[in-house]
């Protein structure tokens, strides 16, 4: 490449960057300062990249033509042809042809994914015909094992790998959401559709009774890191280490598995430039079925007649009542009153121009109501348009490699006011200083600006959406009305108008190290990494009807992570004996500092920060914590002729979180494998089965998820009295705390058939987590709720498999398909003796109809699956008062309804024990909170440059409690929108109605009534939330249509003429919908669904230009 060329290319690039910046600025004029600074950094990277390019400039001699084809003679499209040791290279066109100017006497490397690469020496030959042999994909794959890499062929543990090319998603979420349905045994729960939110990752059922918090340890390029704000476009592979033989090398923190993310690195060869732009349009196709204002008024006013005090609801100032003057919070009133008080003209204007309506009052025939119907759901959701721009440069030669990328992502959420913006930079480089000494370095920076719902997700989703539709949306002066005079019952517009939230997080990860081959076969690799997360939040509320005092709060967090790793590796092959040994050490130090302050009383709306608040109102607090860990570890692997494989590792961890006498833990792991296909006796079947490896592994990992307070006890400040500062002992010390340990056994096989056209990975596993670190319930007289203890066992068993194959492969058409499935069964193992049958804790008494006696159920008991859910069984609705007269006495109605007789329209509860009383003993088992079967099915169809991909995933085995629906039907707090249920034929309306949904009362059924819809939870049976009513509990099984995408790879000589080596275009739709029996907005909910930020349906268009 000539110097001129480099300059021209550089100029072109700057043009691109400039135009992108212009676009970006258009989107966010306000953010220009930030854009400017990132543009500066971008230019810096461009310069670095150019600097690298100079190194590669060489003289061009002659042109080579050729064609690359597979074994059946079909041209291979998109194969890379590169001149070794230079940056010269090209890509084959649709017929497999290429044309390249090369220096004399060059060596060409021809490669294509899935095929064995080939070297060709070119002298004068002008027409090369190169046939690539298909490779045994699974055998040549390199997988990351802890502190090293290993060929898939010799790996003896359970590791799943996902390649960048299979990672595709709308750019809204955390990259780990990509793994949904892709890794057998990894449950990825994306319970919020908020851009930038984190999924819950549960590997093999987790290790605890509440697995949603059992997130695996995430290691990005060797650094233990937070999985937030990682740019998907920089990821090369994601691997999941599942069994203890692979994770034991990470010791004390590996209990829940390890996710290893590797970012892209430069490769020797021609420098590459990629520019990628993605546009996505998100929306929420499904809405809650809320009734219209007309239906709401009709039903609510009629039902008000049965209230304790009907006038409260009919003529009060609720959304359905008529004492709502002009410009007040609710719009309902008598038409007469409006005309009399405010004049006919005013009313005409409302009706003709402002969208107000009238209807006959069902309670006062002949009298008209006036009201305005506002669809608050549509005020909540929006169609969001996001942009994702990435540029990367990569390349290298035999001395150095580099990969630099810059990305900008802006993604507004589908809930108004939510937004996520991320800028990221990555630079990965390496330089060979001596033949045996290579240094490498990495800088990764990200900056995010985030506006989320945070803790108010529930109040926004369940309340702002569920304002009665006659609530006023805007005051006459054009400012938003608040809905109710409560902080948590506000209209979304009001909240957005008055509240400003700012959340900035910048994360920087720097690591550097070297790889020194001291003598042949002996390598020393130290790495130093530093990771800083710095977060800033500022919340402010302008003076308004609810908060007049302009309250402001701010927080500054700094979480640092220092990590030192060093490994010493010795590998040796003597004849057919391959041996390697590794020794390593790891030291981490995690200091975290946090400062928070609040105040109120600012004289102006213009200053959202604390400096404007009054001195007396200001409070401030800082905290500093530190965690340290030091570890040594080692591993030996041995194989005989790649046929018999052995590996063993040992790690010793010391953690500052434990009491002095229990600081250290030891974690061993061992595994063995047998590559049967390498045996001579296998030869006859080798045509059919080309690969068969049987694996077995065992290991121990730990969990040190606790704080110093748990081991040493805590005296916590913050208990002020009469102006003095006070402290209290809030956490009991337990000096005897040990590591929680999980011992896992894994048996599996890897099978490759028909020349690896069909591949199977199969594993069965068994895990026993003992000395569980959990809160042990203490007796009330201790004054403490619990003490952190090593307490009992959890046992998990499971099966998982991945099948991938290429059912069809012709010259132009390929269909590849992969399916994975996992089944996990977790049960409580041995629990400490407590005198109860099965040593049950948190259980309650219910009646077992089969045994005909009362039994303890629920909570945690030996041999039982945790997370069982119980509910009152609805047998329908009493049709008439006479029928209800025989109803059993219901102990669990609201205090004000105690002793009142049941009437028509009340729920007919099943009296399980037949004692004529409904109480907690009549609960029935309805299912489990957590699914136990998960999987995914991906199909890819290739026709020439065109690729169609269809991804589905599924989850089965849990139930969801639709609290949202139950809450609406029970008119929680008398001021809530109704759902279409209230007018359906299934609801009881009058004496004699045969119905499944009990009567709707405008007066809160929970506070005053019979609790026909939402029931109280048993105080003993160990779960909380939900309606506890079988009417609202549905199976949570779902099949999600996760992705349908179409992409086209544009290649050709004409592109090369304009210096473009390829254009990739794709159009994808994500989260198209679910096949599910669950009737809420989304079935991706664990437990009770009080209103969730749903995952959007995204339509994404991307274009990728490579140069």
């Amino acid at each position: 490449m000539s110097l001129r060329l480099v300059q021209r290319e550089g100029f072109f690039l700057i043009l691109i960057i400039k135009s992108i910046m212009k676009d970006v600025q258009k989107f966010h004029k306000k953010r220009s300062l930030r854009i400017f600074s990132s543009a500066w950094v971008l230019l810096f990277i461009v310069q670095v990249a150019f600097h690298m390019s100079y190194v590669q400039a060489q003289t061009v001699e002659h042109t080579v033509n050729g064609v690359v084809s597979d074994e059946s003679g079909n041209g291979i499209f998109g194969a890379t042809v590169a001149v070794r040791g230079t940056s010269i290279g090209t890509i084959t066109d649709a017929d497999g042809k290429f044309k390249l100017k090369v220096p004399n006497n060059s060596n060409l490397t021809i490669s294509f994914t899935g095929y064995e690469p080939q070297q060709v020496n070119v002298r004068k030959s002008n027409n090369l015909v190169i046939t690539l042999k298909e490779s045994y994909i699974s055998l040549n794959e390199v997988v990351t094992v802890g502190y090293g890499k290993q060929s898939r062929a010799t790996v003896t543990s359970s590791i799943s790998k996902v390649q960048a090319k299979d990672l595709s998603m709308p750019p809204v979420g955390n990259p780990l959401s990509l793994l949904q349905g892709k890794v057998a045994g990894l449950e990825v729960r994306v319970s919020s559709g908020q851009p930038g939110s984190d999924p819950q990752l549960i590997l093999r059922g987790g290790t605890s009774t509440s697995p949603e918090s059992d997130n695996p340890l995430v290691i990005i390029d060797g650094v233990i890191r937070n999985m937030k704000d990682v740019n998907t476009q920089n990821i090369e592979t994601i691997e999941v280490l599942k069994d203890a033989a692979s994770t034991a090398i990470y010791g004390a923190r590996a209990n829940n598995g390890i996710v290893v993310i590797t970012t892209k690195q430069g490769k020797p060869g021609k420098g590459k430039i990629n520019v990628r732009y993605g546009l996505n349009v998100d929306d929420q196709p499904k809405r809650y079925p809320l009734s219209t204002a007309r239906d709401y008024l009709y039903v609510s006013r009629l039902s008000a007649l049965h209230a304790l005090n009907p006038q409260n609801y009919l003529t009060g100032s609720f959304a359905m009542s008529t004492a709502n003057p002009r410009n007040s919070l609710n719009t309902t009133a008598f038409l007469d009153d409006y005309i009399n008080n405010y004049g006919q003209d005013y009313v005409d204007d409302l009706l003709n121009n402002k969208g107000w309506e009238t209807m006959e009052d069902p309670v006062n025939p002949g009298k008209m109501l006036i009201f305005k119907d506002t669809d608050f759901q549509s005020r909540l959701f929006q169609t969001a348009v996001g942009n994702d721009i990435n540029i990367d440069f990569s390349g290298g030669n035999d001395k150095s490699t580099y990969f630099a990328s810059a990305g900008y992502l802006n993604q507004p959420g589908i809930v108004k006011g939510t937004d996520y913006t991320r800028m990221s930079l990555l630079f990965n480089g390496s330089y060979k200083i001596r033949d045996n000494f290579k240094s490498f370095y990495s800088i990764n920076y990200s900056f995010r600006e985030f506006i989320g719902l945070g803790n108010s997700e529930n109040s926004v989703m369940s309340r702002a959406a569920r304002m009665p539709r006659t609530v006023r949306d805007y005051y006459e002066d054009g400012t938003p009305a608040q809905g109710e005079n409560r902080n948590d019952f506000r209209t979304r517009d009001h909240e957005l108008y008055y509240r400003t939230n700012l959340n900035h997080v910048s994360r920087i990860n720097i690591s550097t190290g070297f790889d020194w081959e001291i003598i042949p076969d002996l390598k020393f690799e130290p790495v130093f990494s530093f990771y800083n997360n710095e977060g800033l939040t500022n919340n402010f509320e302008k003076a308004n009807q609810i908060f007049a005092d302009r309250r402001a709060s701010a927080e500054h967090n700094m979480d640092l992570h220092f990590q030192y790793d060093a490994t010493l590796t010795y590998s040796k092959s003597i004849e057919k004996n391959n041996f390697s040994a590794m020794l390593g050490l790891n030291y981490t130090n995690d200091p975290s500092f946090s400062m928070s302050g609040s105040g109120y009383g600012a004289p102006t709306d213009y200053i959202p920060t604390l400096n404007a608040t009054t001195k007396e109102s200001q409070t401030v607090s800082t905290t500093y914590y530190e965690n340290k860990m030091a570890s040594v570890f080692g591993r030996v692997t041995y194989d005989y002729n790649k046929r018999y494989l052995f590996s063993a590792s040992l790690r010793k961890d010391g953690s500052s979180r434990f009491a002095a006498n229990h600081r250290f833990g030891i974690f061993p792991g061992a595994s063995a494998g047998w590559n049967m296909h390498e045996e001579e006796f296998f030869t006859p079947v080798k045509k059919l089965i080309n690969n068969l490896k049987i694996r077995a592994s065992w290991g121990k990992t730990g969990n040190n998820d606790l704080s110093l307070a748990d081991t040493e006890g805590q005296y916590k400040p913050g208990y002020a009295y009469d102006g003095d500062a006070g402290l209290l002992n809030t956490v009991l010390a337990n000096n005897n705390l040990l590591w929680e340990t999980t011992a896992s056994t894994d048996l599996g096989f890897d099978l490759g058939m028909f020349n690896s056209r069909l591949n199977v990975l199969f594993d069965v596993y068994s895990k026993i987590t003992s000395d569980r670190l959990m809160s042990k319930t203490l007796w009330a007289e201790s004054g403490f709720a619990s003490i952190k203890s090593n307490y009992g066992e959890m046992k998990s068993k499971g099966v998982e498999f991945e099948i991938s194959g290429t059912p069809v492969k012709t010259k132009n058409f390929t269909w590849t398909s992969s399916f994975n499935f996992a089944f996990n069964r977790s049960v409580c193992g041995k629990l400490p003796y407590n005198g109860q049958y099965k040593n049950r804790t948190n259980g309650g008494i219910i009646y077992d109809t089969k045994l005909g006696k009362y039994v303890y159920a629920g909570g945690f008991a030996e041999g039982e699956r945790p997370g069982s859910r119980f509910a009152f069984q609805s047998l329908g609705v009493y049709a008439t008062d006479e029928e209800a007269a025989d109803a059993p006495y219901d102990e669990l109605v609201a205090a004000s309804s105690v002793g009142l007789p049941k009437v028509g329209g009340d729920t007919k509860w099943r009296d399980v024990d037949g004692n004529d009383t409904i109480n907690y003993k009549d609960l029935v088992f309805v299912g489990y909170i957590h699914p136990d079967r998960i999987g995914g099915f991906t199909n890819t169809f290739n026709y020439k440059g065109l690729t169609l991909r269809v991804v589905t995933d599924f989850s089965m085995g849990n139930v969801i409690d639709n609290m949202f629906r139950g809450g609406s039907n029970s008119s929680g707090r008398n001021n809530i929108a109704t759902m279409t249920d209230v007018t359906s034929k299934d609801i009881w309306k009058k004496q004699g109605d045969i119905a499944t949904i009990p009567r709707y009362d405008v007066e809160s059924d929970w506070d005053f009534g019979k609790r026909n819809h939402a029931r109280p939870n048993s105080p003993t049976i160990g779960f909380s939330n939900g309606t506890v009513n079988t009417l609202y509990i549905k199976k949570g099984d779902y099949l999600a249509f996760r992705e349908v995408s179409l992409s086209y790879a544009l290649r050709g000589v004409w592109l090369e003429k304009i210096k473009v080596s390829g254009i990739d275009l794709s159009l994808a739709v994500y989260n198209l919908g679910y096949l599910t029996a669950y009737d809420g907005l989304t079935p991706e909910v664990i437990g009770a669904d009080a209103g969730k930020y749903p995952r959007p349906r995204s339509v994404v268009f991307t274009t990728n230009l490579s140069f």
């Binding site: 304790l308 005090n309 003529t315 009060g316 100032s317 007040s328 919070l329 109710e484 005079n485 409560r486 009807q545 609810i546 005092d549 020794l583 050490l585 109120y600 007396e616 409070t619 500093y624 914590y625 530190e626 965690n627 340290k628 030091a630 570890s631 010391g654 500052s656 600081r663 110093l708 307070a709 916590k716 400040p717 208990y719 002020a720 009295y721 009469d722 003095d724 006070g726 402290l727 002992n729 203490l778 009330a780 007289e781 201790s782 004054g783 403490f784 709720a785 003490i787 203890s789 804790t841 309650g844 205090a895 004000s896 105690v898 707090r973 001021n975 506070d1007 048993s1018 105080p1019 003993t1020």
Partner: protein, 484 residues
């Protein structure tokens, strides 16, 4: 090669993890090993105890709900205690009382050995702690009868799980703690009305002795005499007098209050949400009221009208009783109809955020309480004329004149109960008052409390039940008698 072996050795040595590498000195958290070193630690812990005590006391559940002073409010979430339909499945948990107990026991254990610059300072802290522990046991035994006596701090889960001690032992412990406090307080007078004092300790002692005599049937009139003496002493050393603060309304609105012996401090930046917020309303419900601005409503949901002052309570007041309008207020429509009734004693304060916050102090002991308790004791001791003298002291300020009704012991006791009902309504005294009066056969509580009509000792025991879950964790516990 030797070079490399040396390198390996160095490497190995580096790896033999040094304990000091993982040494972390706690900065923002204090652990057991770094506390209880000096005077400041003990003082700070006592402040914490007061803070915990305040939140422990801040609810109506145990001392008001079961009585006759509350009807259900517009937002009808009342309690099952209020409905008097408690059962073994609907029962409270007494943990919070024992949390306070743990804190007191911890301070008494470690604070006693720490040397202070001034012996008096240490004695006062210990005295206050004894008061707090005694008072907590009084609350516990009033609600549950027999309760476990825990007198050492919780420091290991290997500790014994206690069984319930007889109520008599518990009340004797209260008296012992009160005596201990009396002996330890270095001064007679009140240092701060937001803290326990010797006068408060005397009041506690009298309170406990009365309970012992009336409810636990000690049969020992010496208990009554001791209690009367204690109350006399308390009044004398407290330096309070009825009317010192002016009008009845001022008793509740003034923070520093010469009629109060011990109250718990509330303030917006420290603690708000005093229990009266559950007896008051948000504006949504009374926006059509003609007297809206007289009602202590909150704009937002800070007040939740779970309870309303009861019709029965309203009837207790004579027309000319000036305490009635202070105690409650009716929200009325333009046609005169009552929308709802809210309490009016604890009106809170309107803060710069434009809303009313409930920051009235919770009164533990004030003089009127002591005076009427003394009246009760004197009547029980058959000193009826003396009792009437005491009774008249609160009546005078209320503007209802001297008591002129029947002068027999039971009638006077009944009048004292009613007077306490008027004077001390919503001050967390009603249910224990009714328990005592029922025990002394002044009333039949099952005929007095509407939610207890038609019930009796068997269907509705007077003590609270405990949760099954508590017995599951502590098998030494047995259910309160009367519940199965």
């Amino acid at each position: 090669m030797k070079k490399y072996i040396n390198l390996l050795i160095v490497f190995m040595m580096a790896m033999s993890s040094c304990e000091s590498w993982i040494e972390v000195k706690p900065v923002s958290e204090i652990t057991r090993s770094s506390y209880w070193n000096g005077e400041g630690d003990v003082k700070g812990y006592l402040v914490g105890i007061y803070s915990d005590f305040r939140s422990m006391v801040n609810e109506t559940y145990y001392d008001e709900d079961r009585g006759d002073a509350l009807d259900n409010g517009v937002v009808g979430t009342t309690s099952r205690a209020w409905a008097n339909s408690l059962s073994e499945t609907v029962a409270p948990n007494w943990r919070k009382f024992y949390t306070q107990m743990h804190h007191c026991n911890l301070l008494l254990k470690y604070g006693a050995d720490i040397s202070f610059n001034s012996q008096a300072d240490r004695d006062r802290i210990l005295a206050e702690t004894y008061f707090m522990r005694g008072y907590t046991y009084l609350l516990l035994t009033q609600s549950f009868g027999d309760v476990p006596l825990v007198l050492i701090p919780m420091e290991s889960d290997a500790q014994e799980r206690p069984a319930r001690s007889p109520a008599l032992d518990v009340i004797n412990q209260v008296i012992a703690d009160a005596d201990k406090a009396i002996s330890l307080f270095p001064e007679n007078g009140i240092v701060s009305r937001f803290r326990a004092s010797k006068a408060a300790a005397y009041a506690l002692k009298a309170n406990a002795l009365t309970w012992k005599y009336e409810v636990l049937k000690s049969g020992n009139v010496q208990d009554l005499d001791d209690a009367i003496t204690a109350l006399t002493t308390a009044e004398t050393i407290s330096g309070t007098s009825i009317g010192a603060v002016g009008s009845y309304a001022n008793v509740f609105s003034q923070k520093e209050n010469p009629e109060v012996i011990f109250s718990l401090f509330f303030g917006i930046n420290e603690a708000e949400g005093m229990y009266a917020s559950k007896l008051t309303t948000a504006q949504t419900y009374i926006s059509v009221a003609v007297n809206k601005e007289d009602i202590p409503y909150t704009k937002s949901g800070l007040a939740i009208h779970n309870f309303a002052p009861s019709a029965k309570l309203k009837k207790l007041f004579a027309v000319n009783d000036n305490r009635a309008s202070v105690a409650y207020i009716d929200a009325r429509r333009s046609n005169g109809k009552v929308i709802l009734t809210t309490q009016n004693k604890f009106r809170g304060t309107i803060y710069p955020d434009g809303d009313r916050h409930f920051d009235n102090n919770i009164i533990i002991y004030r003089l009127a309480d002591l005076v009427l308790l003394k009246a009760e004791l004197l009547a029980l001791r058959d000193r009826v004329p003396d009792a009437i003298i005491q009774l008249n002291r609160t009546r005078m300020r209320a503007g209802i004149g001297n008591y002129t009704g029947a002068a027999d012991k039971q009638s006077v006791l009944r009048e004292i109960l009613d007077e306490r009902g008027r004077e001390l309504c919503f001050e967390l005294k009603r249910w224990p008052d009714l328990m005592r009066a029922h025990a002394s056969q002044v009333i039949n509580v099952y005929e007095l409390v509407p939610n207890m009509y038609g019930k009796n000792e068997t269907t509705c025991p007077l003590y609270f039940p405990i949760q099954q879950a508590m017995m599951d964790v502590n098998p030494n516990l047995v259910q309160t008698s009367g519940y199965y």
